[in-house]
């Protein structure tokens, strides 16, 4: 039976009750991401689905505040009407984890730091969180940050809670930086280059002055994709300049106009090219290491069913055949050698309870991570075991 607080005071009460009984709480909005992270017992669920509503939106100030359970689609619609957006382009996990598309809440988006293809230019979800209100695992209401663009008053706890999977505090209200939407967009496709050359083209473009906002390579269609956004006149000239800049690569070029371009990047954002049966990994690396990682993994005999590169090769999505350790040993060994981290995004609960879903840390970092958790939630009442078996 989920607890469904109506306001922050209710959240506080629920967490204090859980503390008194030493009964851990799982936090969810609409549950679209409950299959992420280590599998936990989820005996008691604190649902923030009733904490809804945009409490402040000032388009001229580029700022929006919403309660944590507000559906993302509601926020997107509100921003749309003012020609604005969440520039970090939150990923929708439905294609990978099931559930209805667009069902995420803003609290969940921030709790997993879900960012999309524009991350390379616009930053991650965490870069757009200006401030928050929350109830910690101590049952205390804590706020941090503010509603202005520049703020260095006290520690930047916004960075800490973004991507913390609800393990530090139950977020109750979030203040986000919003940005104008580009007037239009186009995507330049370079086809038939093969992965190695295609990724090299993306890296070259990422160091160009043409402000490419997204760079992906989809092996399924053998296409290197480069997104350009801005006023039409600018997009047109940059596309022409970029085509010349990449002429040496000798690929077949084509253009996706605005609507096709949007659809293409939504597919990449949501990792649709790798959707299907099996285990799913998300690997973050230096862009130059993306291709090498996949080659080495193949060399190690891992049965890759599908993969796609985003962030100029710095983000690799993989789907593999299911095995007992979800190929964690092989993947981690390669990532450790290259630098970066690998997250198991989808696997059966028994596998997620057994292997490290998040990348193992060196001991000094692991113990600091645990001390930070204890600073907010000393009794491990929130999302116990979600990140690490020991807390």
């Amino acid at each position: 039976m989920p607890l469904t607080p109506r306001d922050e005071a209710d959240v506080t009460e629920a967490i204090r009750a859980a503390l008194a009984e030493d009964a851990p709480l799982s936090i969810e909005g609409h549950g679209s991401k409950s299959a992420l992270g280590r599998a936990t017992r989820r005996e008691r669920v604190l649902s923030l689905a009733a904490l809804t509503g945009v409490t402040l939106y000032e388009p001229q100030e580029l700022v929006l505040t919403a309660r944590a359970g507000t559906p993302l689609r509601e926020i997107v619609a509100l921003l749309d009407a003012q020609n604005q957006q969440l520039a970090f382009e939150p990923m929708d996990h439905a294609a990978l984890l099931g559930g209805a598309r667009g069902d995420a809440t803003i609290g969940g988006v921030i709790a997993v730091n879900a960012s999309g293809p524009r991350r390379i230019k616009a930053g991650a979800a965490r870069d757009h969180l200006l401030g928050f209100r929350s109830v910690t695992g101590r049952g205390e209401i804590v706020k941090s940050g503010g509603r202005v663009m520049k703020n260095v008053t006290g520690y930047d706890l916004s960075k800490l809670v973004a991507g913390s999977y609800g393990t530090l505090a139950a977020l109750t209200e979030l203040t986000l930086k919003v940005l104008p939407k580009a007037e239009t967009e186009e995507t330049l496709l370079l086809s038939d280059l093969g992965a190695e050359k295609g990724l090299a083209a993306l890296r070259k473009a990422s160091g160009s002055p043409y402000e490419v906002s997204s760079l992906a390579y989809d092996p399924q269609g053998d296409a290197a994709a480069l997104r350009l956004e801005g006023p039409q006149i600018s997009v047109t000239t940059r596309r022409d300049d970029l085509t010349r800049f990449l002429a040496d690569f000798d690929g077949a070029t084509s253009i996706l106009a605005a609507d096709e371009s949007r659809a293409f990047w939504t597919r990449i954002r949501d990792a649709e090219p790798i959707a299907g049966e099996g285990v799913i990994w998300r690997v973050s690396l230096a862009p130059t290491d993306g291709f090498a990682f996949v080659e080495r993994l193949r060399g190690a005999g891992a049965p890759i069913v599908a993969h796609v590169y985003d962030w100029a090769g710095g983000l690799v999505w993989l789907r593999l055949e299911t095995v007992a350790d979800a190929h964690a040993t092989a993947i981690r060994a390669i990532v450790d050698a290259l630098g970066g981290h690998a997250t198991l995004i989808r696997a059966a609960a028994d596998i997620r309870a057994r292997v490290d879903v998040f990348h193992p840390q060196p001991s000094a970092l692991a113990s600091l991570t645990r001390r930070v958790k204890e600073a907010f939630d000393p009794r491990f009442i929130l999302e116990r075991g979600r990140l690490r078996a020991e807390f």
Partner: protein
């Protein structure tokens, strides 16, 4: 000076000789500065009102030495204040009389430039501008550009989460770094992030950025490099009043344009600048707004026309568009010189650093004027208008009885006003010691206790840069972090202030 710092711990002062001997065993002979005259060079940062002579200055050259010094300090229970170039404006690097001043200036090498991954690994003592200089031959630069960029170091930029003119469009330090190496109190060396994007689990790199040297000592930074825009043009817009200028700024952003730079100056500052080093600003303007638009020439030309049209609609009395790179730089010259220029119209000034929601600008300026009159002082204004970051310069005369105190009081009133209208105490200079006692204006006891618990996770004995940022130094035990054994608090000698 009205600042209250913790009383030096006599037990530590008494062991100075032992500390010096043990530091000399870690560092080369010349890198332990014990002599009083030489230590004087470190007695303050750029907030020169507050000074203290450090117990000793240590200048490590390697990560191993930093680690050994931190372990030694932990063992001997000595405080450590990290310092880069000492350009901090909030007293963040103010030494402690019973502490080691850890100068990181010898960490001055660029270790690696990796254009393909658009990043560079640099040591913390490298100057901000030196990074851009080192990569400009290939068309790259490092975006955050604090006004002190010629002198300030990247390690200090991380400590303060430095911003600058570019940050409206390109973000602050926190948005432009990929990795850190740091040393904890106790000597453990950690690496956070790397050349990949996004930390996994807790974003400790994001937390470290802007933590004002209270959590760890940065020994290496991986910064993002950006390609320089193909072209940039400036607009110099004059308005009869600051209100009209502020409306224009709002209208530009409402149109969906995020300029590379968007700055404003009031009449007092314009007068000071023209008096200091004339660059052709209109002297009859109530405010001028400088806009920089960057991108491809076609995009920039298009946006210049849109911004000019907006400016006219908002009542601009003059609009100039730069026709050459030299002219663009001339538009900026006055803005860049604003601080030294203002110091010529009054013997001393105190630079404040509050951020407000931009829409409240006219109201805040009017009320600030009232506050200045109330305290009998003058204020000149320079703003990062695009992001609402104000830098009111309070003019005073230190040789006049009571002027410093008046300036401090006015400063505090201005910052309270910023918080009251929905803003914050500091946009880019940090809290340091300067705004420490105002933290309660923004945060309640629970908020502050939680922040200090984060400090306890990194530095349970509060040996790293204590006395900064937080108005009351709580022991970790009081915050429910440290175990109290047989009823005895650890470090009962630790003063509360």
């Amino acid at each position: 000076m009205s600042l209250l710092m913790p009383l030096p711990e006599q037990a530590i002062m008494a062991r100075r000789e032992e500390l010096l001997a043990r530091l000399r065993a870690i560092l080369p002979a010349g890198n332990v500065i014990a002599d009083e005259t030489a230590r004087r060079a470190y007695e303050c940062d750029a907030l020169v009102m507050y000074r203290a002579l450090p117990l000793v200055v240590a200048l490590p050259e390697t990560v191993a030495q930093v680690s050994a010094i931190m372990a030694l300090a932990q063992e001997m229970n000595v405080k450590v204040v990290p310092r880069g170039a000492g350009t901090s404006l909030s007293g963040g690097a103010l030494p402690l009389e019973d502490g080691i001043l850890l100068g990181m200036a010898k960490f001055n090498r660029i270790l690696e430039v990796d254009f393909e991954n658009r990043c560079a690994r640099v040591q913390p003592g490298v100057q901000n501008l030196a990074i851009s200089k080192a990569v400009e031959y290939a068309g790259f630069y490092y975006a955050p550009d604090p006004s002190s960029q010629i002198a300030c170091t990247i390690g200090g930029n991380v400590g303060e989460n430095a911003g600058g003119v570019h940050c409206l469009k390109y973000g602050l330090t926190t948005n432009n770094i990929l990795g850190l190496e740091m040393v904890l109190m106790g000597g453990e060396v950690l690496r956070l992030g790397g050349k990949h994007l996004d930390s996994e689990l807790y974003d400790l790199m994001g937390l470290m950025t802007g933590s004002e040297g209270l959590l760890g000592v940065v020994t290496e930074v991986t910064v993002r490099l950006l390609q320089k825009p193909v072209s940039a043009r400036g607009l110099l817009l004059a308005f009869p009043t600051v209100e009209a200028g502020a409306r224009c700024v709002g209208a530009i952003i409402a149109r969906g344009i995020i300029p590379g730079g968007l700055e404003m100056m009031d009449a007092a500052t314009i007068g000071a600048v023209e008096n200091f080093q004339p660059c052709g600003y209109p002297l009859d303007a109530g405010a001028i707004v400088i806009v920089e638009l960057d991108g491809t020439p076609a995009e920039v030309d298009h946006l210049v026309a849109v911004v000019e049209e907006i400016a006219r609609a908002e009542g601009a009395t003059e609009t100039r568009v730069s026709q050459s790179e030299a002219e663009r730089l001339r538009f900026w010259a006055g803005r860049k010189n604003a601080f030294p220029a203002v110091s010529c119209i009054g013997p001393d000034y105190l630079c404040m650093d509050g951020t407000i929601p931009r829409g409240r600008l006219p109201e805040v300026l009017t009320r600030m004027d009232g506050l200045a009159k109330l305290h009998g002082l003058r204020v000149a204004n320079v703003f990062h208008a695009g992001d609402g970051n104000l830098h009111p310069l309070i003019l005073y005369d230190a040789s006049k009885e009571g002027d410093i105190e008046r300036a401090e009081k006015l400063g505090a009133d201005i910052l309270r006003l910023c918080v009251e209208v929905g803003g914050v105490l500091t946009g880019e200079h940090g809290v340091g010691v300067e705004k420490r006692d105002l933290m309660g204006e923004m945060f309640d006891e629970t908020d502050l206790a939680q922040q200090q618990r984060v400090k306890c996770a990194f530095d349970p004995q509060h040996r790293l840069n204590p006395g900064k940022v937080f108005p009351t130094l709580h022991r970790c035990a009081e915050l429910g972090i440290m175990h109290v054994q047989s009823g005895k608090l650890p470090f009962p000698e630790l003063p509360r202030f």
